[in-house]
Structures are given as C-alpha cells and as structure tokens.
C-alpha cells in the first residue's frame, strides 16, 4: 500500500528491511485470507455437488453478479454501507471488552425511526436537513435503547450478553409493532411505513446506483479506528477492555465509560439502520429483519477489530450476499445457501488464523 513512501534517500538499512518486512507481511496477510477462502469455496462446492448443483456455475454467478458486472458491483458497494456502520459499532464495543450482541434490535429501531421520520421531515424542511434529522433521531433512539443493558452492566454487573440478546428480541418485536400500529402507511394494504420518495433519498454517487451512504460508512469505520487507536479516549476504552480491574485502579471512570461504549456502539447500529432506509429501502415493511448484525460479528472478530481489515471483510460479506442472491435466483438454489457459504468461510478463516498463530509461536520458540 504505502510501501513506496517509507524508504527515502537517506533511509538506513534498518528501514529497508522494515519495508521488506511490511511487504512480506502484507503478502502473508493476503495469502492467509485468500487461501482459506479458496478452501471454504471447495468445501461449500462439495455441498452444492451433493444437492446436484454445478458449483462452478454457482461461483461463476456469484463472482459475476457480486463483483464483475457493473450493476452487481454497485449493489455490492451499496450493501456495504449499513454493514460498515454495524462493524464500526462492534469495533468500539469489542475493543472495550463488551459484547454488544444486540445489534439487530438497535439496527431495526434505528431503521424504523428513520423510516417514520424522513418522509415527514422532507415535507417541512430542506432535504439535507431532513435526512440529517432522520439520522440523528435514529441514532438517538438506538442509544436510548442500549441504556438498559449499559446501566445494568455498569452499575449492577449484569452480563451484557444476556441483556443485549433480550433487548434484540424485544427491539425486533417493538419495531414490528411500530410499523404495524404507529407508523403504518394508511394508503397501502400491506403493513409498511410511508415510503421516502426516491429523489429525497441519499444522493447517488456520480452516475451510478451506489448510495453515498457508502462514503458515510467508510468515514464512520475509519474515524472509529483512529479514535480507538490514536486517542486518549480510545486508549481508556482499550484498557477497560483489557483489564477492567486495572482500569479501576488506574482511576478510570469505568461505569461512565461502559455507558459511553454502549451508547456509541448502539448509536452506530442505529445509523446503520437509517442509512439502509434513507439510502436504499425507502421504507420498512413489517417483519423485515435482514439480520446483518449477526453476520457482521464474526467478520469483525476475524478482522481482529481492526477497522481497515474490517472494511475488507465487509466487502467480502457483501460480495457473497449480493452474488449469492443472484446466483440463487438463476440456478434454483435457495438463497439460504449464502448463509452456508458465509459460515464455512468464517470457520475456515478462524481456523487458518489459529494455525498461523501456532506456526509463528513455534518458530519463535
């Protein structure tokens, strides 16, 4: 990436070897990612063969529709926007050692409030202000929703895995109730919210169908990465994550930080919902739950909670899901195969990472 900037004219020998090391490191990382993906594709291919589908044709479609066709790549990049926000939220929580498994509930509540708010706001204020307001209330609602698990964890020591899981079930149902009863569009027969007109949605990038939400998502995840790695606030959160007791001894306000972490994490999940609605869907139908949150969790882990690596994994996830959807339609394979494919990729990547770690350790010893 930035190899050519490192060694300058007066570079010492040390710098040169460093550059070579980074180059080897990047190559190594690339191999360690692509190798397992290939293995996973072979395993998933065997499953396809077993049910009588030509795996090569399937993968051909996935690649063509997810990556190489102009329309496909645009859809893939569009799909990335909410996933990036979710990943950013998870990075904050996981680095601070907190398991926010409630992303889907926060996502849906954010989506529903944005869907309810945006069509109203655009009628009374300029479009950019309306969308900003929709984003803000989606974020605020998701933050408020995360207060219960946050306070329980911060002041009662209640395990957040259980509370966030509960809140995600509650949130999913509540989102449905809101769509069906409160925010329902009276002019349609199917229960859904009012639809945001296409011209009022987030602007498209250049002459493509890619929503500008992608840029917002990229900005969010990069800012989160920099805050977590470069600022005092991020350092505090990482200390809390590494050793909460030591953090108390170091004089950090752990309770306050815990609440802050939940608020940021949930707020980003709420923004993910908003960006999907305002950028792509335009409305929320009843019982809509894409369950992005669950799929992003392992991806963030595999990226070792590194923002830049997470972008890569989110891209991969996006290609697989968009490509898989098209391939499924063409070849008569149910869309569910994408889930199988993603899970095999995740497991093989996790295994590869483990063996790589093991190998490095034994070489050092």
């Amino acid at each position: 990436m930035s190899i050519d900037t490192a060694p300058t004219a007066n570079a010492t020998a040390l710098d040169a070897t460093n550059a070579a090391a980074t180059r080897r490191d990047i190559l190594h990382r690339l191999l360690m990612t692509l190798g397992p993906i290939l293995i996973a594709l072979v395993i998933a291919g065997c499953i396809l063969l077993a049910v009588g589908v030509d795996p090569l044709a399937y993968y051909g479609f996935v690649l063509e529709k997810g990556l190489f066709s102009p329309l496909g790549i645009q859809q893939t990049l569009t799909r990335m926007a909410p996933l990036l926000f979710l990943a950013a939220g998870l990075i904050v929580a996981f680095r601070a050692g907190m398991w926010n498994l409630g992303g889907d509930g926060q996502f849906l509540l954010g989506a529903v409030t944005a869907a309810a708010g945006a069509p109203v706001f655009v009628q009374i204020m300029p479009s950019w202000l309306a969308l900003t307001c929709a984003f803000l209330i989606a974020m605020a609602v998701a933050m408020i929703w995360s207060l219960v698990p946050a306070l329980l964890r911060a002041y009662q020591g209640v395990n957040e895995i259980i509370t966030t899981l509960m809140m995600t079930f509650l949130g999913t149902s509540l989102a449905n109730v809101l769509v069906k009863l409160v925010f329902r569009d009276p002019s349609t027969t199917v229960p859904q919210t009012r639809t945001l007109p296409v011209e009022d949605r987030l602007p498209r990038l250049f002459d493509t169908t890619i929503t500008s939400g992608l840029l917002l998502g990229l900005a969010a995840i990069i800012i989160v990465h920099l805050v977590m790695t470069r600022t005092a606030f991020g350092l505090k959160l990482r200390i809390v994550g590494a050793n909460p007791r030591a953090a108390v001894h170091a004089g950090l306000g752990v309770s306050g930080l815990t609440v802050a972490v939940f608020a940021i994490s949930a707020g980003l999940a709420g923004l993910a919902g908003a960006v999907d609605i305002i950028g792509v869907q335009g409305n929320v139908r009843a019982d809509w739950n894409p369950a992005y949150g669950l799929a992003v969790i392992p991806a963030v882990f595999l990226a070792r909670m590194n923002g830049f690596a997470a972008i890569g994994f989110v891209f991969l996830l996006s290609v697989l899901s968009i490509g898989g959807e098209s391939a499924a339609r063409r070849l008569g394979v149910p869309n569910h195969f994408t889930l199988v494919l993603v899970s095999i990729v995740l497991i093989v990547l996790a295994l590869a990472e483990y063996f790589d770690h093991r190998y490095n350790q034994s070489r050092r010893a």
Binding site: V148, I162, L294, F301
Partner: protein
C-alpha cells in the same frame, strides 16, 4: 371475554404452554451444562435446527417418532462435535464459532429441506399422548399437564436427574470445576478438555432432542428457521437459572405460557398484534434482571478456552 376464561380455553392454553416449553427446557438444560463447564454455547440454535430437521426426516421416513427423536439428538451431537473440536480442543473463539454454526445450520437445513420437499411441507401424524390415570382427571390442570407424549415426562424427569448429577456425583463436580477453575481440575489429574467435550456433546444431544420435539410434536412438520430464536432463549434461561436445573424448568414454563398466549389470542380472535404478546417473555426476563440482576453470576472461566500451562 368470558369465553377467554372457560375451562376448555384455559386447559388448551396450559397444554400449549407445556408443548412450547419443552424445547426451551431441553435447550436450556443443555446450555446450562455447557456453561457450567465453561463453554458459552452460542451455536445452540444451530444444534436445535439440525435436530429439528434430522428428527423430522427420521420420523417421516421411518414412521416412528422415537426414531425421529434419536436422529434429532444425533444431529445435535454432530454439530456439537464441530463445536467441541473447534472451541474446546483447538480453543477458537466461542462466540465466533457459535454464530457461524448457527448461521450455517440455518442455511443448510433450509437448503436440504428445499431439495428434498421443494415447497411442500408434509405433516407427521399427531403424536399419541400418554395419559396419566387419575391425575389427568383433575379439571383444567389434568388435561393440560398429564396428557402429553411420553418424552415430555422424560424431559421433566431429566431436570431432577441433572440436579442430582450436579450436586451428588463426581462428574457434576468436575463440570463445575471446569467452568470455575479449570487449572485446579487439571492439577487434580482430571482432563479439562475431556470434561468440557462431554458437556458440549451432551448439550448437542439435548438441543437436538429439543429441536426434534419442536418439529415432530410441537409443529408436526419442518419449516426452515423453525426454531425462531428458541436456542437463544435457551441461553438466557441457562444464564438466569444460575446453575440450577429446576429454575430452567420454571423459566421454560414462563416462556411457554407467553408463547402459548400468542397462539391462544390469535385463535380467540383478539386483535392485538402478535408482536406485542411475543415481547412478554423477554420483557419478563428484563424485569427480572433489573430486579435481581446483581445476584446473577456466571462461572469464572466462562468463554475462556483452556490451554494447559497457559496463564
């Protein structure tokens, strides 16, 4: 409204509650065992789905419900085997693998069902109930609690068997130690890995059985994603029960009543969106957590892979 509280309605409601509670009970008991041994089993939803699918297929082709339960349990064990290998032996992150397994099994069972039955959803004949004499004659409660398939009574008996196992046997103590202080168990000469593997495989068998019950007795058919979060409810039940099987039973019944209420309200034609009623059990849990949360405790080494000699 008076129709709501008729004897028939109440007993149907309670009957439904028991039927809905059994899969949760089995999943919760299984999860409890994993958690005791220090493994947070997020893949339990996947194990239940494997059990539901294979249990249904087994019963469908053999015509025997019992064989279905057996294949269902085997399906759960098969998924648990992957979990045990990856998370206990190799020590990969339990949450990553658990979620990956759940996603994968959701897809795989839906896929297999599609290729086997296409868009049709064949039904199994209704399970025959074992009627307990005398007790089943009690009004309301009798038909609700004492006219179920034999496996329901076995599942309830299991609650007490597990209680005995945890408190009175060496294996029970080993399990507890594997979750609280695995290093101490190791020093005592007992294989932590093996203890945890036993726990995870048992979890798989119970979750698979729960899934098979859900498909074969509860619904009488298999539809993709049939578990609908039952596995996650099992995790919650296990965490709330704080290591005591009897509390898993009470929790499962509470959830069962709420789930049954959903169906009953629909049948009675009451016009509340089902989503509101579906929120009841989760709301109940959250209220309990707010009230008693401070006292909830989990094994010290939960979620941490054990590696010999590592600090």
């Amino acid at each position: 409204m008076t129709g709501l509280f008729s004897e028939v309605f109440l007993s149907a409601l309670l009957f439904g509650a028991v039927t809905a509670a059994i899969p949760l009970l089995l999943a919760g008991l299984g999860e409890q065992m994993s958690e005791k041994a220090g493994v947070l089993n997020i893949g339990i939803e996947g194990m239940m789905l494997a059990g539901a699918y294979l249990g249904f297929v087994g019963a469908f082709y053999s015509g025997s419900l019992w064989l279905g339960f057996l294949t269902g349990a085997a399906g759960g064990v098969a998924v648990a085997l992957i979990m045990a290998l990856l998370c206990v032996r190799i020590g990969l992150n339990q949450i990553v693998i658990g979620i990956a397994l759940t996603l994968g099994l959701e897809g795989l069972t839906a896929l297999l069902h599609h290729f086997q039955f296409s868009r049709s959803y064949p039904r199994l004949p209704a399970a025959d109930a074992t009627v307990i004499p005398l007790l089943s004659d009690i009004p309301v409660i009798g038909p609700a609690f004492f006219k179920h398939h034999l496996i329901v009574y076995l599942a309830v008996a299991l609650v007490f068997a597990m209680g005995y196992l945890y408190r009175r046997t060496q294996l029970g103590l080993n399990l507890q130690a594997a979750g609280d202080k695995p290093a101490a168990l190791d020093v005592a000469g007992i294989d932590v890995i093996r203890t945890r593997t036993i726990a995870v495989l048992t979890t798989g068998a119970l979750a698979g059985l729960g899934g098979a019950y859900l498909a074969n007795v509860g619904a009488g058919l298999f539809i993709p994603f049939i578990t609908n979060g039952a596995g996650f409810l099992g995790i919650v039940l296990a965490m709330l029960a704080r290591g005591r099987p009897i509390w898993v039973l009470f929790g499962a019944l509470l959830f069962g009543v709420c789930l049954s209420l959903t169906t009953a309200m629909q049948v009675a034609g009451i016009n509340i969106p089902t989503d509101i009623i579906q929120m009841l059990p989760f709301l109940a849990v959250m209220i309990m957590l707010v009230l008693f949360g401070r006292r909830a405790s989990l094994p010290a080494a939960l979620g941490i892979p054990y590696e010999r000699g590592a600090r």
